[in-house]
């Protein structure tokens, strides 16, 4: 067990290192942030002083090593644009993104799973066909356009919900959340819905396909022959079995939404992390981009690490030996 954990730990660290090299070089390659930061009328002396202060006069490997050295001390650098620590900037945005994704995934599950079951149990019925056709729309409509249409419908024509931004927040254990205020929820509704629709479609498809498959399995036939009620067959036998892939996919989606729900955040001016990332890329705010990708990688690596260990702990068939990849 210990050898296995140790091996996984070393692997995780190597992944982080590799990602840091790639990201650093990629961001370095895009261009020179000085041209965007410093107005052209600034004197050569002032410009040089700025370049030196940011360490941009050093060769790239030296810049990378000093970044790495600071990162080991827990300092991922200061934002070029805002002048404050990059990690503070990112963490300040985390709660906004997190609550958005939480609500979106919740909506997707609460609506998607029952509809998927419905469609999977009677695949030939009219409502089922309508649901499946709807999922194609849900997948294929571009997020940006969908967001604008939601704004037009619910804010401009109906006037029910605000167009953009984050509403009133309350602090819970020092973390500001808008999930607990009416104004906050109103602001959350549209972006969460926009984010939820493709995931809802995904869940419907997964659940429907799983249900159709499961319904013809021997254990279902046996249960039916035994005279178990239909409700119980669906709730107890079918749903339980098909939820495994659904949970796996939902987990993966959750991670990628937290890190990259950029388009929805941009359309709804949601002050989340995705918007910070896109702004930082545009402004060549290197420390923020690098810190962001590093934190996102850390998140994924940590989750994977935990999942692997949990998996091993839960499933006795998985052997925890050092040889396992």
């Amino acid at each position: 067990m210990t050898a296995y954990i140790l091996q996984r730990l070393i692997q995780s660290i190597l992944v982080l290192l590799a990602v840091s090299v790639v990201v650093f070089l990629a961001v370095y390659g895009i261009g020179d942030p000085i041209e965007l930061l410093v107005p052209p009328q600034v004197s050569a002396a002032e410009r040089t002083a700025m370049i030196q202060r940011l360490g941009l006069d050093l060769p790239v490997w030296q810049q990378y090593l000093s970044f790495l050295g600071n990162a080991l001390k827990g300092d991922l650098g200061h934002s070029f644009v805002h002048g404050v620590p990059a990690v503070d900037l990112i963490l300040a945005r985390l709660p906004a993104t997190f609550e958005l994704v939480l609500l979106a995934m919740g909506l997707a599950a609460v609506i998607g799973i029952p509809l998927g079951l419905l469609a999977g149990l009677n695949p030939e019925s009219r409502p089922s066909r309508a649901i499946m056709a709807g999922t194609i729309l849900g997948f294929s409509l571009p997020s940006f356009w969908k967001g604008m249409m939601l704004i037009l419908l619910f804010s401009v024509f109906l006037g029910w919900l605000p167009t953009a931004g984050r509403g009133e927040t309350v602090s819970v254990f020092g973390i500001p959340t808008s999930l607990l205020t009416l104004d906050g929820l109103k602001h959350l509704a549209l972006p969460a819905l926009n984010l939820a629709i493709p995931n809802m479609a995904l869940m419907i498809r997964l659940v429907a396909a799983g249900t159709t498959e499961a319904i013809s399995q021997d254990y279902v036939k046996y249960a039916r022959a035994k005279g178990v009620r239909r409700k119980r067959i669906v709730g107890r036998h079918v749903l339980r079995n098909i939820l495994i892939p659904v949970v796996t996919v939902a987990g993966m989606e959750f991670g990628s939404l937290v890190a990259f729900s950029t388009i929805t955040e941009t359309v709804f001016a949601w002050p989340g992390m995705g918007k910070l990332l896109i702004d930082s890329v545009y402004q060549l705010d290197r420390p923020v981009v690098v810190a962001y990708v590093m934190l996102a990688t850390l998140l994924f690596v940590a989750v994977n690490f935990l999942v692997d260990i949990l998996y091993a702990a839960l499933d006795p068939r998985v052997k925890l030996t050092g040889e396992m990849a």
Binding site: I151, S155, G165
Partner: protein, 536 residues
């Protein structure tokens, strides 16, 4: 009886609610200020926000004319010595009185500002040899070189309260830390508002990055009180949702709706809008130095852009009015020089740059290019309004007269570094004159660079006209306004004749607002709550 009661009740509610409603203002911004620290970054959104909380010694009005602010009057001795008389009876929002010490402290801070983005005001104060306070309400500034634009530049330099940092007797001497005993504040210290103490018409209430900046009326303000008790700025960078927010009633004022969307509110009685020409000029900068130039291919192997006749032909080939009408949706003014007519140092009536493809072809033939040549126009696609479409249109106009042109459009993050390495032959540029007068463009773009790059810093095309250089170098140290305006006009004419810069148009800025409000618009593109008035 019932009816009277009801109408009385309704009237009462209206009376109660109307003022409360009218006193708060919500404004959607197209780009968010990067900091509350007024000396952090010399950027339009930052400067606009800062003007609510802080005052400078001077200020600029909506047409960028310089007016008194914390200084009531100023004069110079004809050389390098300026005397500013400070306003009496002004207090900061924390109750401290405003004196000459605060001015010295603020000037010093721009030199001791470790976190600032380069050139954010240190270039102004770096030119000071001495700043003295003969009494508590007089400031005497001595500059190294004569600086006729000092009052213009001081309009953007916010005056902080010296009470935010422990200090002994303050003196303008950066080497001795100016008498400050504590640590100099850095950008992060201002974001929670503790140090954001100014003399402006509003005071800081809260700042959440990406969400909002909230201000409230400063009851200690020395000028007439503002009509708005609360002002909230919300960043909504996307133009579509920003306009939707106005239509849905979420915002009272929005800046920069897309010009093509103005028709959406033009006939709607619930909204108003203003289109105000700005000083931002859009132009092409030609490489007139190198032989050959990287993106020009002529049969004779030379750089045709070096020939003034070719440059003239290129300008004649462009239909500016059509570009403004079709691409800019009329939200721009044709540019026949580099600063709008009537501003300081600009020509009063520059000759119209007409569209004449026949004359262009003739000039090209005269110059020895009857079959034209090949050219690539380089442009940003995310910096100026419709930048890549404008360049595409110009490429087609040039192709029509025989200059076969292609467009290379790229993101600004790639474009600006490449341009400064002189990688282009014809490059799109844009320049807003923050000083509101003609030397801003002329000293930066066409001037031959000096060693310290304080002039000619953006002369990427290698333009070199010794006569012009002499004029601009004289103009920037001439203190007499009338004389300086005249020299600037001569210098501007020279650059237009040279043809190495082809002006296209001045961008206009658009603001849209609810019909019960009025916004006059500003040439410097600032969105200021102080100028939002009730329409009645």
């Amino acid at each position: 009886m019932h009816r009277t009661l009801i109408s009385a009740f309704i009237a009462g509610t209206c009376l109660l609610s109307a003022p409360a409603w009218a006193q708060s203002l919500k404004i959607a911004l197209s780009s968010e200020p990067t900091a509350i620290d007024p000396h952090y970054h010399d950027l339009t959104p930052n400067n606009a926000l800062i003007a609510h909380i802080f005052d400078g010694l001077t200020k600029q009005d909506e047409n960028q004319k310089v007016l008194p602010n914390l200084a009531t009057s100023w004069e110079n001795d004809g050389k390098t010595r300026w005397t500013f008389k400070l306003r009496q009876g002004v207090t900061f929002s924390n109750g401290q009185p405003f004196t000459a010490d605060d001015v010295i402290f603020s000037f010093c801070r721009t030199l001791k500002n470790e976190t600032a983005i380069a050139g954010s005001f240190a270039d102004i104060t770096g030119n000071f040899t001495a700043v003295e306070a003969p009494d508590s309400h007089t400031i005497v500034i001595t500059t190294k070189a004569p600086d006729p634009l000092l009052p213009n530049f001081l309009s953007g330099l916010a005056i902080l309260s010296s009470s935010i940092v422990p200090h002994d007797k303050l003196a303008f001497d950066a080497a001795k830390n100016c008498g400050v005993t504590g640590t100099w504040p850095v950008v992060g210290d201002f974001n929670d508002g503790k140090l954001a103490i100014g003399t402006g018409p509003y005071k800081f209430k809260s700042y959440t990055k990406g969400t909002s900046v909230e201000l409230e009326r400063n009851d200690k303000y020395w000028g007439p009180a503002e009509p708005w008790a609360n002002v909230t700025f919300v960043p909504v960078p996307n133009a579509g949702p920003r306009l939707a927010g106005l239509l849905a009633g979420d915002y009272d004022v929005i800046e920069n709706p897309a010009a093509r969307d103005v028709s959406r509110i033009r006939d709607d009685k619930r909204f108003g809008y203003v289109i105000m020409p700005s000083t931002r000029v859009i132009y092409f900068q030609l490489d007139v130095e190198r032989e050959p130039s990287p993106f020009v291919k002529a049969e004779n192997g030379k750089n045709p852009l070096k020939d003034p006749r070719v440059r003239k032909a290129m300008s004649l080939a462009i239909d500016r009015d059509a570009i403004i009408k079709r691409i800019m949706d009329s939200a721009a003014e044709p540019a026949y020089q580099f600063l709008p007519n009537g501003m300081f140092g600009a020509l009063a009536n520059p000759p119209k740059l007409a569209y004449d493809p026949a004359a262009a072809k003739k000039l090209l033939a005269e110059a020895g290019y009857p079959n034209g040549f090949q050219l690539t126009l380089s442009t940003t696609n995310d910096r100026y309004i419709n930048d890549s479409q404008i360049t595409q249109a110009v490429a087609q106009y040039l192709t029509q007269v025989g200059i076969r042109s292609e467009v290379d459009a790229m993101a600004r993050a790639i474009y600006f570094p490449r341009r400064s390495k002189k990688e282009f032959s014809v490059a799109l540029g844009g320049w807003g004159s923050t000083s509101g007068e003609a030397s801003s463009f002329l000293r930066q773009w066409p001037a031959t660079p000096d060693e310290a790059k304080t002039i000619g810093g953006s002369n990427y095309g290698g333009y070199n006209d010794p006569e012009f250089d002499k004029l601009i170098r004289t103009a920037i140290v001439t203190l007499d306004d009338a004389k300086r305006a005249e020299i600037l006009q001569q210098a501007g004419t020279k650059v237009l004749e040279g043809g190495a810069f082809i002006p296209l148009h001045f961008e206009s800025t658009i603001w849209a607002y609810k019909a019960n409000l009025k916004y006059a618009g500003r040439a410097d593109q600032f969105t200021m709550a102080m100028q939002v008035k009730s329409a009645k």
